[in-house]
Amino acid sequence: MTITSVASGTSGLSDVTSDDASLRRFLHGLPGVDQVGAEGRAVALATRSIKTTAKAWAIDAAIGMVDLTTLEGSDTPGKVRSLCAKAVRPDPSDPSTPPVAAVCVYPDLVATAVQALRGSTVQIASVATAFPSGRASLQTKLADVRDAVLAGATEIDMVIDRGAFLAGRYLQVFDEISAVKQACGTAHLKVILETGELVTLDSVRRASWLALLAGGDFVKTSTGKISPAATPPVALIMLQAVRDFAARTGEVRGVKLAGGIRTTKEAVRYLVMVNEVAGPRWLSPHSFRFGASTLLNDLLQQRHKLTTGAYDGSDYVSID
């Protein structure tokens, strides 16, 4: 897919956000999504067979792209510390297992994670902006973000105001993302679209572009609190958006899939999709992530099967 209907040239992208009408014209000028075609393409990509050495590579790559996440009301500092230990060394019985990309926690537990991850390569991501609903005033959202950044978060996962987006108040959403991006400082910003609430793939495409235009470093599917979360057609549309954005601006932005990805098989299928839709340069933790907790255990079990030749069970990996 190439985008020809939008304003011409890379400089055109700064014009489209100048006022509400231009932004609306740009977003509604994006080509419509052929839903049946997108679903068909997603199904077709899922049929690739990835075996032996390719599978071993894919498993290690996927482990290195995991944002190990705990976002429960019942989280404790102890649980976060054990999660951090697992993030640094996912399989204590096999030191060749790579560490995960990041741990993802609520803002008040960032300090605990910082302490536990000192000296490792693992990033500290924190959800902010009144996660998961996003229903708070802008001041509160920005305070939430500054709080997390101050505590040491290197990545911020924000939620967009889906109500405003669905009502068509695009500039409000744009301004909010821009303000959060500013509040992040050097921290990376991941913008959660909550695609389960966006209803159509057209909306997903518009929201992705909106987030990219506003300066989000990543577009992320979901909070994990709403079903359906990450689905193959949604991932396809978001990967197309970052690819087209890179083609327009030369900037590589990332995609994070969160929620509902539990098995190695699904993860490998998404890696195939990243390679085929966006391109091989996106196959890196800098531009592709899985937000997950149970997925890591399945990846470790599959890795164990490949290295030892015997299947194991859930008793051989930690519960959280």
């Binding site: 030749g309 015997a310 299947y311 194991d312 069970g313 859930s314 008793d315 051989y316």
Partner: protein, 312 residues
């Protein structure tokens, strides 16, 4: 794409019409409905993940049906289904397990003729032998159904100890049991190894007789309609030689029953099982006609001993 139609010549058509007029063929009263024998995993009847199947023949080499040829991934799926079902089945009361096992006997009794026909087709003996085998298989379910809530009373008990404690020993199920069913006896052999393991609260992954798997698959249909929770019995058909090593090396299988493996071939499996300290049960030749006794009930239980302070 271009479709090429080959039209029959006029001469051929008229010849065919003439033939149809000359010898009218009675259409069959109804189409034959052939049965697809599938696996039984987690309460469902899937085909093999590998898509393979193999022909099953009777003693004279006549094709009976095709059965699914399970692969190592089916073993994996079956073990995770068995593990998932273990908490519920082992946590059910012994009385309840007994009722469910008795219901299996009821289901078999109702389908006695079907099993009789399948055993006759599968094996070499006479019809009378087959009838005896089916009856014995049904009786065996009743036998083990009765033992579910009595076994603990026989082998468990209060132990005299030198201290201010009540001391009890109780048998508890071992967990997931991998079973290779006897190769000769298609139905009675299968029942004789599966029923005692599940009676004690274990869940099982069982590889049916490679050459004679069909009665076991039909038995799985009876199990599926007997209130037995899905995943308690998981049935695989195919090559025992191919599947057994995956079962033996699987880290999440607690016990291995090598009844259906030739004694000469048991050592490598026992070695693989030793890596995870599985309980390996490798009995001598099984006498199916004899009273089943209690020996198999004790094969897959662990004894838990509880010390309880007295005087409180």
């Amino acid at each position: 794409m271009v479709w090429r139609h080959t039209l029959p010549s006029k001469a051929k058509v008229s010849a065919a019409k003439a033939a149809a007029k000359a010898a009218p063929v009675d259409p069959p009263a109804r189409l034959a409905v052939r049965k697809t024998y599938k696996l039984y995993i987690g309460g469902a009847f899937p085909r093999s993940e590998s898509g393979r199947s193999y022909p099953v023949t009777d003693a004279h080499g006549k094709l009976l049906a095709h059965a699914a040829q399970a692969s190592r991934k089916d073993v994996r799926d079956a073990v995770s289904a068995a593990r998932k079902a273990f908490a519920g089945w082992s946590g059910a009361t012994a009385y309840n397990r007994g009722q469910v096992l008795y219901r299996v006997a009821e289901m078999l009794e109702g389908r006695r003729e079907q099993f009789l026909a399948e055993v006759i087709a599968a094996e070499t003996g006479t019809a009378a032998d087959a009838a005896a085998q089916v009856d014995a298989a049904i009786d065996r379910w009743v036998w083990y159904a009765g033992w579910t809530d009595k076994y603990a009373q026989i082998v468990g008990g209060a132990n005299p100890v030198a201290g201010p404690y009540f001391n009890f020993s109780l048998p508890e199920p071992s967990g997931v049991v991998g079973i290779i069913a006897p190769q000769e006896s298609s139905l009675l052999g299968f029942v004789s190894v599966v029923a005692p393991a599940i009676a004690m609260g274990n869940t099982v992954v069982v590889i049916a007789s490679s050459q004679r798997p069909l009665p076991a698959v039909s038995l799985a249909e009876a199990l599926a309609t007997s209130d037995l929770p899905g995943g308690v019995v998981n049935l695989l058909t195919g090559s025992a030689a191919e599947l057994a090593p995956w079962l033996a090396s699987h880290l999440d299988v607690n016990c291995l029953d090598l009844t259906g493996i030739d004694p000469a071939d048991r050592v490598p499996l026992a070695v693989a099982a030793a890596d995870t300290v599985k309980r390996v049960f490798a009995p001598g030749p099984i006498d199916l006609a004899a009273d089943p006794g209690m020996s198999r009930l004790g094969a897959f239980v662990e004894t838990k001993t509880v010390w309880h302070p007295t005087g409180v």
